[in-house]
């Protein structure tokens, strides 16, 4: 794993990678405090805090009883399922009613049960709620059943556990903390286990953590020297482990072990975690420390963060408006009802249709009448019940269904399937699909996002000599470097392009001064790392491949390079390494290693040479290395190296500096004793070790520098160009050096040669302010041409700018720039930059990254996208969407984002319309019933209206309809602007829709009213006419707006019309309902058919006229593109478009 903020071959990056951003926990501050050093210091304290007694757990090795005596630790049975058979109903209901919408439903249903307010029958009032609850419950139950099944499979897997001094098979779920567990090669590890011994005599175990963090390369874990020779069956181990409380940091572990009176310290390299797989090791034995739900894997399997989409936020505003309408309607009805009652108060007793008093009982009492005031109040509540669907509850459910459908299509899009990593697109958050269509700012990480994070050794500068000359591919001359081992040929798995001159020098020039330096250089590359060589069989039995497994791609590249030049690492254990140097096998003792940390930004090993000399080899980032290099000698070489480094990084290469120093015996002894004290220290071990390392790493003699290329991913320049054409601003935030960042900027077409670069590099607040003001004065004017300005700013300057009053100036400057490049930024600063934009504009932000250092920015942005690539899975875990390649951003945003947004926007408006038109029809009728909330439409039809009559087409059209084809959207990225300009959903459209709704409701209601005024029509017949008319009308309205008619759209729209007719017929065929046979009587009248036809036409005409008028006189881009799709020539269009595109000039 390589983190680009260090840009360093980091020996043990585990501690640093999660440190800055603890996975899942929301420790992202708005803006960045302090910058790099602070956040890292903070991280160190998090992952390497020392154990206090109160937050530690004690584990007695091989004594589960005693371990669990005082505190009951979690058993190893896991439970990802939420419900059991008994708890399902109450818990599921409880969870469902967490949604406000359902509570509204419930309150309405309960109100309706009061006899005073019983508008609908009991069945009809509960039906919609119960349908919704049932559908959701079935969905939840199915998901939970699948979880139950996988839990059962997991829990019942078998593993060997030491019971009564014999290893016996035991189910996973029965493992207890403190038990000794044995597992073999390719076994999945059942819980978090501290290694005691392995089949390897040095106690090494290799594990694959793909299930945990997605990294496929092997990692090494070690059993402690003191325990690895013990055979648990015979030689009972009695020890005590004191370790941290369970936490979710998968890269940190802190513990002490007491065995036979000795205190040992345990770290992350001594623990294997649940879900990992043992590889290349025959067996391993360990003691369970965390089990079941307390394992790090389970603690990390939390859900994705929940965000709310912009469209939904806007929609909620309109829903509040709709509730105001609702209250207004109810108020009108109740006031009118009150006036009516007061005016007729004297007659209420005798009025045949009111009959206030009940004479059947004595004394005579009012029947169902509690005075005018109460009647007004009841009328108000009843009208809320009758008009309840004004608030489109079904909309929330429809939206969820639509998003699931959209996610289905996004996941299944083969344009977003990554062949190389075999990964599909993933939708982790299901509620922000439509945000993808409104993005304005893209914040991208560089390494692993724009680039492949597959490193390739390019150039070397050795002792002031630059070897970047003629390259040969090894295949041309011979088959690369190989060695003979026991009659077999071993060769490195990856071939490296080598420099001819350097190759010759390294092979032949041993005795020259340059040759010695080359020897040192490649020895350093081969030795100073944590790479493990794994020998892999090939089809040819006489030939084996050496696969270098390690956590850092940079290190892998360097070791392969060393092997190609004849320094082949063959074996690594914790105590020694074997390197084949030009055919001569040499064994070096590894006397100590100071692993990488992001504070020092370097690592070192202490090697004992065969001739008895001891050297310390240091490798690290140039800034950190030049601080410790002895400048009293070889100053010209240091300067030459510096200039080489500059030229390497300016063509986008990642550079590292190597140095070494011979240690005298006394110095070595001194170091060794302090190293041992430090590494067994109970308190402050990390700080002590770092101090030891810093003491050792000084006065280093320079050896050389290496340059590694990180290749751009396929299609990145084209993708960036498309995104820029779509009027999105692409900002690159990287931990790389400025020169590297700029060169990547050029190769990815983020920067072009005709851009003016505004560079801000400051070391203080004053100079930052000065820089910003200068830049603003020069380029900040509104007249400046936006497309020709690029801002390059580094992390140090950001330290002074973010979270201060300078933010505003930076924002102004940045918003004038076409490209922004931030280099040397710390993870939290990335989030700070996103917040800078997010807090100041209404524009949507998207962050894309692949590493742990991007997590904060992914969580901060409106939309977070994780690249499931080389680095771990933290970015994916924190993201809303995950995909394999940067270039998939183009189809994701331009195609799916556009569709999602357009579909969702239309669906929301349509839902408002569809429900409101029905409510208005009910309302108009109430005006003709003495304001008593009678509905002519049967209660079943009113209930089924939004559930059945009109629901399916809404959802289906919102999942399937496409306003434009994928090809048009990809050819003209500018069409994306529709989402950025809120064209599918805005206040104007809302009010237009409401006006249209009013008109249509008036047509539907008043045409039959006037046609049947003073006739002998009965309520049920007129109700049926209104039902059919409104259902036909809303479906025809939808049909008018459908862009693409597939057979599914036909089936859903015409199908729901037919379904409505069938339902109405069924309802009218029930003899105990008052409306029995009404529809048949009605349909035999010609006036019915004339009304129906007239309503449809008169209802849609205004909409049709306005639509056609706008389409002709003020066509939207989408309209033009649709016409071009059908009638125009797409190729001709694209030619013209490039020519006329202002940005390209």
């Amino acid at each position: 794993m390589s983190l680009d903020d260090a840009q360093f071959v980091n020996g043990n990056s585990q501690q640093q990678s999660v440190g800055s951003v603890d996975l899942g926990s929301k420790r992202v501050s708005h803006g960045s405090r302090g910058g790099g050093a602070d956040s890292e210091g903070f991280s160190m304290s998090m992952s390497h805090r020392d154990i206090n007694d109160e937050d530690s757990r004690l584990i007695y090795v091989n004594d589960a009883l005693k371990t669990n005596e005082r505190f009951e630790f979690a058993g190893n049975s896991i439970r990802t399922a939420k419900y059991s058979i008994f708890s399902f109903l109450p818990r599921n209901l409880f969870e469902q009613f967490h949604r406000v919408a359902y509570i509204y439903f419930l309150i309405i249903a309960i109100l309706n049960q009061l006899p005073q307010l019983a508008v609908f029958g009991r069945g009809a009032s509960i039906l919609p709620l119960s349908i919704v609850l049932l559908v959701t419950a079935i969905k939840d139950a199915y998901e939970d059943w699948r979880r139950h099944r996988s839990d059962r499979i997991e829990n019942n897997r078998m593993v060997s556990v030491l019971i009564n001094d014999r290893f016996q098979l035991k189910k996973w779920k029965d493992i207890q903390v403190g038990e000794v567990v044995k597992f073999s090669a390719d076994d999945t590890i059942p819980c978090d286990i501290v290694l005691l011994s392995t089949s390897d005599p040095t106690g090494v175990a290799y594990i694959q953590t793909i299930n945990l963090d997605g990294e496929s390369n092997l990692k090494t874990r070690y059993a402690k020297q003191e325990t690895l020779s013990r055979v648990p069956e015979k030689d009972r181990i009695n020890g005590l482990i004191k370790c941290e409380k369970p936490n979710r940091n998968i890269y940190g572990f802190m513990a002490n072990m007491e065995v036979d009176g000795k205190h040992l310290s345990l770290g992350p390299s001594n623990i294997v975690l649940r879900g990992c797989v043992l590889k290349n090791t025959n067996w391993a034995v360990g003691v369970a420390v965390y089990a079941g739900s307390e394992t790090k894997a389970m603690l990390n399997s939390s859900g994705s963060p929940s965000k709310r989409s912009r469209l939904e936020t806007r929609m909620n505003r309109e829903i509040i408006l709709l509730s105001v309408f609702l209250v207004a309607l109810c108020a009108v009805v109740s006031v009118c009802a009150g006036v009516w009652l007061i005016r007729n108060e004297d007659d209420l007793e005798i009025m045949q249709f009111y009959r206030k008093k009940d004479y059947s009982k004595l004394p005579v009492e009012n029947y169902n009448y509690s005075g005018v005031a109460m009647e007004i109040f009841f009328t108000f509540l009843m009208s809320v019940i009758v008009f309840q669907i004004m608030i489109p509850i079904s909309l929330y459910i429809s939206m969820e269904l639509v998003r699931v459908g959209q996610a289905y299509f996004m996941i299944r899009d083969d344009k977003m399937y990554d062949e190389s990593s075999n990964s599909r697109f993933q939708c982790r958050a299901l509620n922000i699909n439509e945000d993808l269509g409104q993005i304005k700012y893209i914040f991208s990480d560089k390494t692993g996002t724009l680039t492949e994070n597959k490193m390739e050794f390019k150039y070397a500068s050795i002792f002031g000599v630059d070897y970047s000359g003629e390259k040969i591919n090894i295949d041309d001359e011979h088959r690369g470097y190989s060695i003979q081992v026991n009659g077999q040929v071993w060769r490195p798995k990856m071939k490296v392009v080598v420099d001819k001159e350097l190759l010759q020098l390294s092979q032949n020039g041993k005795n020259t001064e340059a040759g010695k330096k080359i020897f040192d250089f490649f020895l350093a590359l081969a030795a100073c790392n944590t790479i493990v060589p794994i020998v892999v069989d090939t089809s040819d039995p006489a030939e084996k491949l050496v696969d270098y497994q390690g956590e850092s791609p940079d290190e892998q590249a360097l070791v392969y390079a060393a092997a190609a030049y004849g320094f082949m690492l063959m074996e690594r254990t914790s105590g020694h390494i074997v390197i084949d140097i030009q055919g001569e096998r040499t064994r070096f003792n590894v006397l100590g290693m100071h692993e990488f940390d992001s504070d020092r930004k370097r690592m070192s090993v202490i090697l004992g040479f065969p001739d008895g000399t001891i050297k310390v080899i240091v490798k690290g980032a140039d800034t950190s290395m030049f601080n410790i290099i002895d400048k009293s000698v070889n100053l010209d070489i240091i300067n030459a190296t510096k200039s080489h480094l500059y030229s390497y990084s300016s063509i986008g290469l990642r550079t590292l500096v190597v140095g070494m120093r011979e240690l005298g015996v006394t110095e070595f002894n001194q170091w060794q004793s302090s190293y041992e004290t430090a590494s067994t220290a109970v308190m402050g071990r990390v700080a002590l070790l770092r101090k030891v390392a810093i003491n050792l790493e000084k006065n280093i003699e320079i050896v050389g520098a290496s340059a590694i290329e990180d290749k751009l991913q396929k299609g990145v320049p084209e993708a960036i160009e498309s995104l820029r054409k779509a009027d999105m601003k692409v900002w690159v935030l990287t931990g790389d050096k400025q020169e590297t960042a700029i060169s990547i900027g050029y190769s990815s077409k983020l920067l072009t040669s005709n851009m003016t670069q505004v560079v801000i590099n400051s070391n203080s607040k004053m100079s930052s302010r000065q820089n910003l003001e200068d830049a603003l004065n020069t380029y900040g004017g509104p007249e400046s041409n936006e497309s020709s300005l690029a801002l390059i700013i580094d992390g140090t300057s950001l330290v002074y700018i973010l979270d201060s009053e300078l933010e505003e100036q930076l924002f102004q400057l940045a918003s004038n720039c076409a490209a922004v490049l931030c280099c040397r930024v710390a993870p939290l600063q990335k989030a700070g930059i996103v917040a800078l934009i997010k807090n100041r504009t209404d524009d949507m932000t998207l962050a894309i990254g692949d590493g742990a250092n991007d997590v904060s920015m992914i969580q901060m942005a409106d939309v977070g996208i994780g690249i499931s690539g080389q680095e771990g899975r933290q970015a994916v875990m924190a993201s809303d969407f995950a995909m394999g390649q940067f270039r998939f951003l183009v189809p994701l945003l331009l195609v799916h984002g556009h569709w999602n947004y357009q579909r969702m926007g239309y669906m929301i408006l349509y839902n408002f319309y569809r429900n409101a038109v029905f409510v208005f029809i009910l309302f108009w009728y109430v005006l003709f019933t003495g304001f008593t909330l009678t509905t002519a439409i049967t209660e079943w039809s009113s209930v089924l209206y939004s559930v059945l009559y009109t629901s399916a087409p809404t959802v289906i059209i919102a999942v399937l309809d496409k306003d434009l084809s994928r090809r048009s959207l990809m050819t003209y990225p500018q069409l994306y602007g529709a989402g950025q300009r809120n064209e599918s959903y805005n206040a104007k459209l809302f009010w237009l829709t409401i006006a249209d709704t009013l008109w249509q409701s008036i047509v539907v209601f008043y045409v039959p009213l006037f046609a049947y005024w003073r006739s002998d029509i009965d309520g049920s017949s007129l109700g049926d006419l209104w039902t059919l008319a409104v259902v036909f009308l809303v479906n025809i309205h939808l049909a008018m707006d459908v862009f693409r008619w597939t057979w599914i759209s036909h089936a859903s729209i015409w199908g729901s019309i037919i379904a409505t007719c069938v339902c109405v017929i069924i309802i009218d065929a029930i003899p105990v309902l008052p409306g029995y046979w009404a529809i048949f009587d009605l349909a035999s009248k010609k006036s019915f058919w004339i009304c129906l036809l007239g309503i449809q036409i008169a209802g849609v005409i205004p909409r049709f006229v306005i639509k056609m008028f706008i389409q002709h006189c003020k066509p939207s881009d989408i309209q033009i593109a649709r016409e071009a799709e059908k009638y125009g020539n797409v190729m001709e269009l694209s030619g013209q478009e490039i020519e006329m595109n202002p940005q390209r000039r």
Binding site: E154, T188, N211, V277, D347, M351, Q352, F353, R355, K357, D358, Y359, Y367, N368, V404, Y408, F409, R412, D413, D414, E419, N422, S423, R424, C427, G930, A936, K962, Y972, G977, V1007, L1009, A1011, Y1012, W1013, R1014, D1016, D1018, G1019, S1020, L1022, G1023, R1044, T1046, P1071, L1073, P1074, Y1076, I1097, I1101, H1112, P1115, I1120, E1123, A1124, E1125, K1126, Y1127, Q1136, P1142
Partner: protein, 340 residues
């Protein structure tokens, strides 16, 4: 909820490449209609040419309907009771008979329908419309299901059949017509829907305890006739949709000549005075469109006319301000650049 391809437990490298189909790629064959000027004009013209004739025919049919509407509620109050209308109508001793004459304006061809029309009578009032028991009406076994019928559900514990306010308020004015002493026969059979007499109202349900309470709401029923033969009740129980409504009283199967003077003998029993209602006698022929109502004809003519007008407008628009379909120079980013 997470929708993703979940790796199985041992991270097996099964190919997760999505199965390619036109459906999953959203490329199903589709009809992509675009409303071109031709289509717009054609559809407006088509609607106009469909709607204008229908409107004319409807208007014509409505014009041919001959209708006599005679309001009698005020005129049938004897002058002495002018100040005490309610007392007059509620008393069982006053003489309610009232004789009036109406003239036939045009020749009326059989079948001629006799309706009564009530104005301002909320048969759709929520208290009223629910106050019935369809179960009870349907069969004798449902006699005791009087739920919802309050306050006309029971009389001293015994169920009222038919219960509820609707039945209780049965309209009970009667009309008999004659021309020059010759009685015009009003056929009161077959005025209810067949479905109601056959299915909805039971042949074994007889009125019980009906209109026996203190407050009389309207007409009484013949206790020896089953409900499915009480067609006045059946018609009344089909509650009207609107506060102004007509209900069929009977049919006349002979023609009436123009200028015939019909002598109407009314029994003015029904109380509409307490809530300012009106009572009217309606004698009317029908056409295929129903009774006399010009609304549909006028509405169709209006819509047809508007469509014709819109068609002309759009023709002018397309002629004077044409826009080539799919012309990229209309794209917003191209328009902006040409302006610069």
């Amino acid at each position: 909820m997470e929708v993703s391809t979940t790796n199985n437990a041992n991270g097996a490298s099964t190919k997760s490449k999505p199965h390619h189909s036109r459906f999953t790629q959203q490329e199903l064959p589709a009809w992509k209609p675009i409303l071109t000027p031709g289509w717009v004009i054609t559809s407006f013209l088509a609607i106009a040419f469909l709607f204008i004739p229908i409107g004319l025919i409807s208007l014509f049919a409505s014009e041919r309907v001959v209708e006599i509407v005679y309001r009698y509620d005020q005129e049938c109050i004897p002058e002495m009771y002018c100040d005490n209308v309610t007392g007059y109508i509620q008393s069982s001793h006053t003489n309610k008979t009232c004789i009036k004459n109406v003239t036939v304006p045009k020749k009326m061809i059989a079948p001629i329908f006799v309706y009564y029309q009530l104005d301002n009578f909320y048969q759709n009032h929520r208290r009223y419309v629910k106050s019935r028991s369809d179960k009870q009406l349907r069969s004798a076994s449902g006699e005791f299901s009087t739920k919802g019928c309050e306050p006309e559900a029971k009389l001293g514990g015994a169920p009222i059949v038919p219960c509820g306010l609707i039945a209780w308020s049965l309209f009970n004015d009667t009309y008999s017509l004659s021309i020059e002493g010759k009685v015009i026969d009003i056929n009161k059979k077959g005025i209810a829907w067949k479905s109601d007499t056959n299915v909805k109202f039971g042949s074994n349900v007889y009125p019980k305890n009906f209109q026996a309470g203190d407050l009389i709401g309207g007409g009484k029923l013949n206790e020896s006739l089953p409900l499915n033969e009480q067609e006045d009740l059946i018609v009344w129980m089909r509650t009207a949709a609107l506060p102004t409504f007509r209900k069929l009283y009977g049919k006349i199967n002979s023609n009436l000549e123009a200028q015939d003077v019909i002598k109407v003998v009314l029994e003015n029993n029904y109380n509409t005075y307490s809530f300012g209602g009106q009572k009217k006698l309606v004698i009317s022929t029908t056409s295929w469109i129903g009774g006399k109502n010009d609304f549909l004809g006028i509405a169709y003519l209006t819509v047809g006319g508007i469509c014709l007008f819109m068609a002309l407008n759009f023709i002018l628009l397309y002629v004077f301000k044409p826009r080539p379909l799919g012309d990229p120079s209309y794209l917003s980013w191209n328009r902006n650049s040409s302006r610069q």
